[in-house]
Subunit: 71 residues, 6 copies
Amino acid sequence: MPYVNVKITREGGTTREQKAQVIKGISEVLRDVLGKPLSATFVVINEVELEDWGVGGLPVEDYRRQAGEKS
Amino acid sequence: MPYVNVKITREGGTTREQKAQVIKGISEVLRDVLGKPLSATFVVINEVELEDWGVGGLPVEDYRRQAGEKS
Amino acid sequence: MPYVNVKITREGGTTREQKAQVIKGISEVLRDVLGKPLSATFVVINEVELEDWGVGGLPVEDYRRQAGEKS
Amino acid sequence: MPYVNVKITREGGTTREQKAQVIKGISEVLRDVLGKPLSATFVVINEVELEDWGVGGLPVEDYRRQAGEKS
Amino acid sequence: MPYVNVKITREGGTTREQKAQVIKGISEVLRDVLGKPLSATFVVINEVELEDWGVGGLPVEDYRRQAGEKS
Amino acid sequence: MPYVNVKITREGGTTREQKAQVIKGISEVLRDVLGKPLSATFVVINEVELEDWGVGGLPVEDYRRQAGEKS
């Protein structure tokens, strides 16, 4: 009975179909590797607004802009 | 000073009154069983969109539809 | 299908029986208030070492000692 | 590569600039105290609706109102 | 830059190799479905003691024993 | 009343003193930026075993070894 929480940035909206594939894919990894039954595996996806996600000490948009300037 | 996180699917909207009862009920369980003071117990509720919750390798709506067809 | 995560400080060791009561109590609150079936409710308890839990800007043991001195 | 999750109540809306300062401040604490590189530190902020946050066995707004009456 | 948290019960000890496969499998699902770069994907596994995991209002071992008796 | 969860890899053991500094530093960031009272701020630190932390599709030790070979 695994519980998996997937946090991703909200970027133009992940489609319902993509979320279904993420749920299917992750559940099958746990079934195939650890023998966990699909019916007892919860997968919960959280889409996080860009301004709420920080990396490199910056909001992710600023981090990407800065990285873009350096490359 | 317990911290309790409750993740539930958003289904027609859980009312403010129901959330208050969940907060009260859970806090009192921790007080009565473990002696945790109510004033130092945090309870945070997250309502999750149905398309963001997977079980059985499927988004929960598809899982329920499939289960419905079998029964 | 709720998922509930309960974080508590590890203080002399919460017994298996107490944990069973917490699981039962919380699951029943969600059944009674929100109609969530027990069989689809996960409750996961995390016991956290005292030095890993901070409140008032201090590790909890120091916070309690300081609060004790003031009272 | 720390992962930090910050849950705060949504109260009049924390500004983007404040969130940027929280991301910066927390990332720098982990760099200065534990030597964790900023570029490998994730900080994710969750703003929680007031009705979804409980303390003292009550939704936080009721808790504050009650505390106000006592003081 | 996804962050994935995988909570599983500790049952005889998941091997390091199995954990590596879970990390690889989940990261690749997010790359293939959502285009997330592997290098920016964190996967954190938590093994939870059986007495700390509840389902059906019971600690998981009791739940399984009870389910075994019914089948 | 913020709740902050800090997940870091367990590498030689973060000292109690360092954890106290992390708790203090993070709590003060939330006080100074958002006006959150220290007494109502929880900070919980989780040290994660290296084999339980994945990045780049690999357990972090393998990822670092691979990165070392490339540099």
